[in-house]
Amino acid sequence: MIEFQGKVLVIGGGISGITAAIEAAETGVEVYLVDKNPYLGGRVAQLTKYFPKLCPPTCGLELNFRRMRENKGVEVMTQTEVLKVEGSKGNFKVTLKKKPRFVNENCTLCGECFNVCPVERDNDFNFNMNKSKAIYSVFEFANPPYAVIDPSVCLGEKCSKCLDVCKYSAIDLNMKEEIIDITVGSIIVTTGWQPYDAEKIDNLKFGIVPNVITNMMMERLASSTGPTGGKILRPSDGKPVKNVAFVQCAGSRDENHLPYCSYICCMASLKQCTYLADQDPEVKATVFYIDIRTPGRYEQFYWNVKENPNISFVKGKVANIEADPSGDVWVEAEDILAGSKSKEKFDMVVLATGMQPTSANWDLPFSAKKTPEGFIDPDSLPDGIYLAGSAVMPFDVIRSLHSATGSVLKALQSISGRGN
């Protein structure tokens, strides 16, 4: 039996980080799992369905949360960032900064405080498509299952309405930021991705033309925990959509933006076509593409979607978008196979924006190099620190899980005391 020497730190509590943490813990190692958000689940928590099986991600997350509850070897720290990593393999001294939640574990999410809170904030979990109160639950089934207060809008003790109605003494407005020092033997970095900033793709007019949304906004619109309760309504006037365009490679495979293929966007758009068809069999969708990239077994999914006569595919990248006074959106592309330019009107346009590594905007707390795109260069990492998930490159959920499990083996080898 191997005695592992030291604990493991997993940075990033998305699907990869959760997987790495529980896989490591189930070998008997103690694990810290930190995430800067007040909830676990990362990007996956925002999805309506996974492809290709189209099951809800909350199900997959919940399975892992149950493993964590049973194992007890994972110490979860949300709203926590890594400030500094010093030392070397087997003995990393890590400094963490934990922001105050202002709500403790007594919270039952009864919701009384939400009702009395007088201030609202943009709900960033839903890409600002709706508001939440200053004290809020990020989403239904959020883990840890406690409310959280946004200190940037909370009126503080002079208001204290939430304190007055809370029957469980769960709210503490005096909570302070904590600096926590821990020592670990190995580190797994699962910082994942963020949607590429669509406003930078100036010819697609995101943020300028109403009813041009991103694919991640579409996930929230289709989600039962989203701003519309799962009805796909266009943002400007709440009209149910009848005709939707999908703009592939919005920022991906483009040296002015993300020079690489983001891997998941073709499948994401095809999946979102099924959301539309499920909601309204009459709804029309058009996917504008350069190449439809559905690698491996995903090809079957593409064929199935293609069988729907209401879903059409136009070869040619959308290069111009204009607003119609009615709230509709004009989409212009060259239909390469027809040999002519097409300018069509849609109710709503979904930009299939790609995956930018979160590390692109992260001031690395350990010494490592970044690629020009902002990925952490794995060859430059110190011994004992490993990457997993879409911090490595754009991955779908399945590959993220494989990568996470693989990284655990590397981390365990590094603290096995047997040299490598």
């Binding site: 495979r253 002015n256 990248k317 959308v318 111009n320 390469i336």
Partner: protein
């Protein structure tokens, strides 16, 4: 759809790459370019189709593709190209190859085609001008032009003591005979080149061409476009180029008018140059000359900063010639007024070298675009695909 067998000409691909279109193989056919281009028609738009044809080395099709002249190298396509394939530069290379393909006297086309050959290209006008001086018995004065100052022309005493350029290049035997011959040569070469191109455009046409209205009306429309730059003004990324082009274009028009008026002075009014600075023809000449210098330097500056067509020696040669013409033309006048005889005469000699270069090589290098573009735009107007949407209604 009819099946066609594509003949891939690998050497033609290399030729495109060697002539400024080195990025052509980066294209992955997303068609962003065709959409962001404000000049591209809706039906069978460019430059996406030219890019795939270029990648396949479809020489025959590209050499009779009038669409390459609808492109004004705005660089909107190049700015938005996700692959750095620079469609604008590729179309520029295709225009160069087209001019060289249809022009007669291939030897002259080769001289101006590659930067390595340019020193030899410049040698030709220099040799012609030296023969000119020898023919007029003036060659010995080139080494020491100071001697010319005290001489008089045709025994007229008032010309003695002044710097008069006709003392080195006599008006009739030094200028008119040599430059008129060069101009006639250029016109003949243009005629042959354009006829060849017109025939190619009309062989196995890809679009129906219907002739309506008068031929004068057709070309008047195209020339009006050039004079006003309406099409060029639709550019976004390099909108400054429509201004610099207009400035240089109009200074050439001004200088042509100056030359025409000066001939009237010379032959009708018998009033020889140099003219006083207040003379209308002098004012027109000076204003046009200054505009040419400003316009050409501005053009060179935009070229260098915006990095569009940066690899095209074809474009650079014209920029050098235009700037050289303007600087040496204005220089000759300034040095003459400063009474620096030797410098003034030498600068004038260099100026005439540039003018002679422009005349004899006009059908073979970029300046020929004024003729080829005019013809191609007339053709595309007939094919009902010339007018961009932005100019309609």
């Amino acid at each position: 759809m009819a099946k066609r067998i594509v003949k891939a000409d690998l050497d033609f691909i290399k030729e495109i790459m060697a002539n400024g279109g080195d990025s052509v193989n980066k294209c992955y056919q997303c068609a962003t370019c065709s959409v962001v281009c404000n000049l591209s028609p809706d039906n069978s738009p460019f430059p996406r189709k030219e890019m795939v044809m270029a990648q396949w080395g479809m020489k025959d099709a590209l050499l009779k593709d009038a669409d390459i002249w609808l492109c004004h190298q705005c660089a909107d396509c190049t700015a938005y190209c996700p692959r750095g394939a620079k469609p604008g530069d590729v179309l520029g290379a295709l225009r160069k190859i087209t001019i060289e393909e249809y022009a007669p006297v291939k030897f002259l086309a080769k001289l101006v085609s590659k930067p390595a050959m340019w020193p030899f290209a410049f040698l030709l006008p220099v040799v012609i001008l030296l023969i000119d001086l020898m023919f007029n018995g003036k060659l010995q004065y080139l080494a020491d032009p100071q001697v010319l100052v005290n001489m008089s022309i045709n025994g007229e005493p008032e010309s003695a003591g002044k710097i008069v350029f006709a003392k080195l290049f006599p008006t009739v035997t030094g200028i008119d005979i040599f430059f008129m011959t060069a101009a006639i040569f250029a016109v003949v070469c243009f005629w042959i080149g354009l006829s060849n191109y017109w025939k190619a455009l009309n062989s196995e046409r890809s679009y129906p061409v219907t002739f309506k209205g008068s031929i004068i009306g057709l070309f008047a429309g195209v020339i009006w476009e050039a004079l006003t730059s309406v099409r060029f003004k639709l550019c976004n990324t390099m909108s400054v180029r429509s201004t610099t082009h207009l400035l240089v274009f109009w200074s050439f028009v001004g200088l042509a008018l100056t030359t025409a008026t000066a001939s009237v002075y010379e032959w009708v009014l018998r009033y020889p140059s140099p003219y006083p600075l207040y003379d209308p023809v002098k004012i027109l000449g000076n204003v046009s000359g200054i505009a040419l210098v400003i316009g050409s330097i501005w053009m060179i500056n935009t070229r260098s900063t915006l990095k569009v067509g940066a690899n095209s020696g074809f474009d650079w040669l014209l920029l050098i010639i235009v700037a050289g013409l303007g600087l040496t033309g204005m220089g000759s006048e300034i040095f003459r007024l400063m009474n620096l005889a030797s410098v003034a005469y030498w600068t004038y000699f260099i100026h005439l070298t540039f003018v002679m270069f422009l005349f004899i090589y006009a059908p073979f290098f970029k300046i020929a675009h004024l003729a080829y573009r005019t013809l191609a735009l007339a053709y595309t107007n007939l094919a009902n695909r010339g007018e961009p949407n932005a100019l309609k209604g």
